[in-house]
């Protein structure tokens, strides 16, 4: 029940009594004045005072008590206290300040009653007490409440005396005027007000204990009625027994005392039982708590994860397990002298503050999360925390288990970095990288692919791979996929193939595709790296075209030179033949000059034929396909020299050919080279009686160079640059015959073998021609 309601109820009851009494005085109804006729009456002054007190109490405990209500209530209380004080003073000083007659009116037959009605001393006292109580009960100081409470209790006792007196029929005659009895209704009203005041202080004193859920409160609630009623009941029994003659007065006293002893004993016994039970329950609860704590402690201590308990208010470590000591490097004593702030790096402290505050507000919450801690030697750890609230050694505490995830986090970060790297690789690659799953659906489409095919990744992931290829290939693709998935046999996997792709706008283009396949658990996935080779294809096609054109050109050249050689020679033959015929048939008719002319004609024709042959030879050298074989250069040199010697047996030439010289090249062309070089050497030593021709090899710049040396006519080094030109000669035809093609041919052949050719010489001292292959 709401205490305020009780208060107002009590006030209302008191008000009723007082009002009824006043009505009784006004309308002369004896019953209302004294309840039991013949007993003392409630004096009107008393009634008014009670009214005032009731009103004051009501005002003090309205649902919305404002300051003016409290002020009025205090004022009323003060008036009432004053009234009481005056009345008491009357008794003390023997004079009657007329207070008793204050509200009496002169009415008929009530005068006698009126004359005798006075505010009795106890009533006055009680009014004084209650007035004081009402004034002080809302005082801001604790003393005020204590006084109010005490006054109310005292007043209640006084009224209770009167009430009991009335209950046992006594009119309560006493010699002391001070103890003149108060009326029944007065007593009832006063008790009601006392109850109200006590209830108006619900968290203090009697009311507090009565309302308390503790054992004490329960005890009081149960025992108070018994304590109040038992004596009255027993006394009533004694009186009835005495009147019924069961026992006389002394017997009655004995019975009463014995009965009181029994009842009090019973009450005490019951109280003891209640206390014992509660004690036992508390003991059990404590044992259970200890067991639970013990369990926690055990789990806590043996846990491989670091864990500790810290006080929620001071943040100090209360307990710490072995794992924590090992991990963080502090001893148990060190821990107990630290707070949880000390194991964190400075930047975490604000967040810690927030968390602790949160825990303070929600004590039963289990918290968790990722935190950074610092060990004794400064190492930073990342830990995953689980914590629970508990009561530890009577304090509000939090138990924490810290799971070290530093390694895991590092691995995760490394994995993320690696993934990032590969993602960036794929994202920035120029080639298209496309991944698909076993159903042929695109799962990854990199920016390179977006550029190549013209789709945005978002448009095309989730679609079939087939959309990227022309219609006519889709069936083959599907079959290929099926075959691979069912048999594991792959035609295309792991190889690079050329296919045709289809861009978004429908154009087709050639592409190069490398396909890889990998398993992820049960799933199969494919990744293709694709390169647009349209440009390359074009270049290849162009190249093929050029090659074909070159072939054609070569063939034409072939045919041309073939026919040219034949057609050019025929007229030459005629020129020469008929010149000779002329000489033979008509020579005698010609003079010396005439014959000379014809000789020159013949020589010229001859020369031309040689030129044609040489030129043909030169062009053939350029066109012929190069064979690469091991060629015995020494042997070829021997053969060539033998031929030369056979052609001019009269000459004596010292020939030195280094043995065992081999090279890789085309045998026919290399023979041509040696024929030319040795032939030149032979020719240009023609004037020398004893010539020397050498063929050998030497090392220069790390490569082997072959040389043909002669000690013949030599040449002027100033013109060395012209040596290898076509038709270039450094000697006139009169000195040495020749067309000037020989060295050009040699150069061409050597160049085709990837080598170089050069010469040294001096006029009259011979020449040396070098070549590499």
């Amino acid at each position: 029940m709401n205490p305020s309601t009780l208060v107002r109820g009590a006030a209302a009851l008191s008000f009723l009594f007082a009002f009824a009494a006043l009505a009784g005085w006004q309308f002369d109804i004896a019953f209302l004045r004294s309840v039991i006729p013949g007993r003392s009456t409630m004096n009107p002054t008393t009634a008014v005072a009670l009214l005032l007190l009731a009103t004051g109490l009501w005002l003090a405990r309205r649902t919305q008590s404002s300051r003016w209500a409290l002020a009025i209530s205090r004022a009323l209380a003060a008036c009432v206290a004053l009234v009481g004080l005056i009345a008491l003073a009357g008794y003390v000083f023997g004079s009657d300040f007329g207070i008793h007659q204050l509200f009496l009116t002169q009415r008929g037959g009530a005068t006698s009653a009126a004359a005798t009605s006075r505010v009795s001393a106890p009533t006055a006292f009680s009014l004084l007490l209650l007035g004081a109580a009402l004034m002080l009960m809302d005082a801001p100081v604790r003393v005020g409440r204590a006084v109010a409470h005490g006054c109310a209790l005292l007043a209640a006792v006084v009224a209770l005396v009167a009430l009991t007196g009335h209950a046992f029929g006594g009119s309560f005659q006493s010699r002391l005027a001070l103890l003149r009895p108060m009326a029944l209704n007065t007593a009832a009203a006063l008790i009601s007000l006392c109850v109200g005041v006590i209830a108006a202080l619900p968290d203090y004193g009697l009311a507090a204990v009565l309302r308390s859920p503790t054992l004490g409160g329960a005890l009081l609630r149960r025992l108070l009625p018994a304590v109040v009623l038992a004596p009255m009941v027993l006394f009533w029994i004694r009186l009835q027994g005495e009147e019924a003659g069961w026992y006389d007065r002394s017997g009655g006293r004995a019975v009463l005392v014995t009965a009181l002893m029994v009842v009090l004993g019973a009450i005490t016994w019951r109280a003891a039982i209640l206390l014992d039970r509660s004690d036992a329950e508390r003991g059990q609860a404590e044992t259970a708590l200890r067991d639970s704590e013990e369990r926690y402690r055990l789990l806590f201590d043996i846990s491989p994860e670091p864990g500790w308990v810290f006080d929620l208010e001071t943040l100090q470590f209360l307990a710490v397990n072995a794992a924590a000591m090992g991990r963080y490097g502090y001893t148990a004593d060190e821990f107990r002298s630290m707070t949880i702030r000390d194991i964190r790096p400075p930047e975490e402290i604000p967040r810690l503050g927030d968390r602790v505050a949160h825990l303070g507000e929600h004590p039963s919450a289990s918290a968790g999360g990722l935190w950074r801690h610092r060990t004794k030697d400064g190492t930073l750890l990342e830990v995953e925390i689980t914590s629970h609230a508990l009561t530890f050694q009577g304090r509000r505490a939090q138990m924490v288990l810290a799971h070290d995830v530093t390694e895991r986090r590092r691995a995760e970060a490394a994995l993320r970095a690696s993934e990032e790297q590969f993602r960036t690789l794929a994202a920035t690659a120029n080639d298209a990288i496309i991944s698909g799953d076993a159903r042929g659906i695109i799962t990854y489409f990199n920016p390179g692919a977006e550029r190549m095919f013209g789709y945005a990744a978002g448009d095309v992931t989730g679609k079939l791979l087939a959309v990227l290829m022309p219609e006519r290939f889709r069936e083959a693709h599907r079959q290929g996929m099926e075959r691979y998935l069912s048999t594991g046999v792959a035609r295309v996997i792991g190889r690079t193939v050329e296919l045709v792709g289809r861009r978004r706008e429908g154009t087709e283009f050639p592409l190069e595709l490398s396909l890889a396949s990998w398993r992820r658990g049960e799933e199969v996935a494919f990744t293709a790296v694709i390169r647009d080779i349209a440009a390359r294809k074009e270049a290849e096609d162009a190249l093929k075209l050029y090659a074909a054109q070159l072939e054609a050109a070569n063939a034409e050249l072939d045919a041309f030179s073939y026919s040219v050689s034949h057609d050019l020679r025929a007229p030459l033959r005629s020129i020469d033949g008929f010149s000779l015929a002329l000489l033979e048939d008509c020579g005698d008719r010609l003079d010396e000059a005439g014959r000379d002319h014809l000789h020159r004609v013949r020589a010229a024709a001859q020369r031309m034929a040689t030129l044609i042959d040489d030129m043909l030879g030169l062009s053939r050298v350029t066109r012929a396909t190069l064979r690469r074989e091991a060629v015995d250069l020494s042997g070829v040199a021997h053969t060539v020299m033998t031929e030369l010697k056979d052609g001019a047996p009269h000459r004596t030439v010292d020939v030195v050919i280094a043995a065992g010289l081999c090279a890789e090249g085309d045998p026919r062309l290399l023979r041509v080279v040696l024929e030319n070089l040795l032939g030149n050497a032979w020719k240009y030593t023609g004037r020398k009686p004893n010539a020397r021709i050498e063929f050998g090899a030497l090392e220069t710049d790390g490569t082997r160079a072959y040389y043909v040396r002669d000690d013949g006519a030599g040449f002027d080094m100033a013109y060395a640059g012209k040596l290898f030109g076509v038709f270039q000669r450094l000697h006139s035809a009169g000195e040495f015959e020749g067309t000037g093609i020989g060295l050009a041919t040699v150069q061409r052949i050597v160049h085709r073998h990837g080598g170089r050719v050069w010469a040294e010489g001096a006029v009259g001292q011979g020449a040396t021609f070098y070549f590499t292959l």
Partner: protein, 150 residues
């Protein structure tokens, strides 16, 4: 030098024909020299068709001097046809050409030529070659028996 042995010269160039005849004469080869100016004429003569219709084809020349570069029918083609026909299969054929191309050499022998002689530009050399040819093919060489030629 026997007279009834005929030499068939297949040569389109009149200068060359004249020079060849002169070369033989200079070297006292007095056999009749029949000149065919192209491949068709050569075949006509040998088989008695066309221009030479009515010739007695039993009278085969002793030797055929065949130039390769001929109008209408090429020298090698003539050779092929000659060798394809029973009557001329064994007929001695000397390819007389100015070509130095290796493939002509190869083709000539492959098709069954008996000899390959290069025509030199120098007439003196040419005359010498003619003398040697005449000496060899007309005197030294044993022709296939008449029965086969029949």
């Amino acid at each position: 030098m026997k007279d009834e042995k005929v030499i068939l010269l297949v040569e389109d160039n009149p200068d060359d024909a004249l020079l060849t005849r002169r070369a033989f004469e200079k070297n006292h080869v007095t056999n009749e020299i029949v000149v065919a100016h192209d491949g068709v004429e050569a075949l006509d003569y040998l088989f008695g068709t066309g221009l030479h219709a009515g010739r007695d084809v039993r009278m085969m020349p002793q030797v055929v001097l065949l130039d390769l570069k001929l109008p209408k029918l090429d020298g090698l083609e003539v050779l092929r046809r000659l060798r394809a026909d029973e009557r001329t299969k064994l007929l001695p054929v000397v390819i007389l050409t100015s070509s130095t191309e290796e493939r002509d050499l190869l083709s000539g022998y492959r098709l069954g030529a008996n000899s390959y002689v290069r025509k030199p530009v120098n007439f003196s050399d040419f005359a010498e070659a003619a003398r040697q040819l005449g000496l060899y093919w007309l005197l030294l060489n044993q022709p296939p028996p008449e029965v086969a030629r029949g």
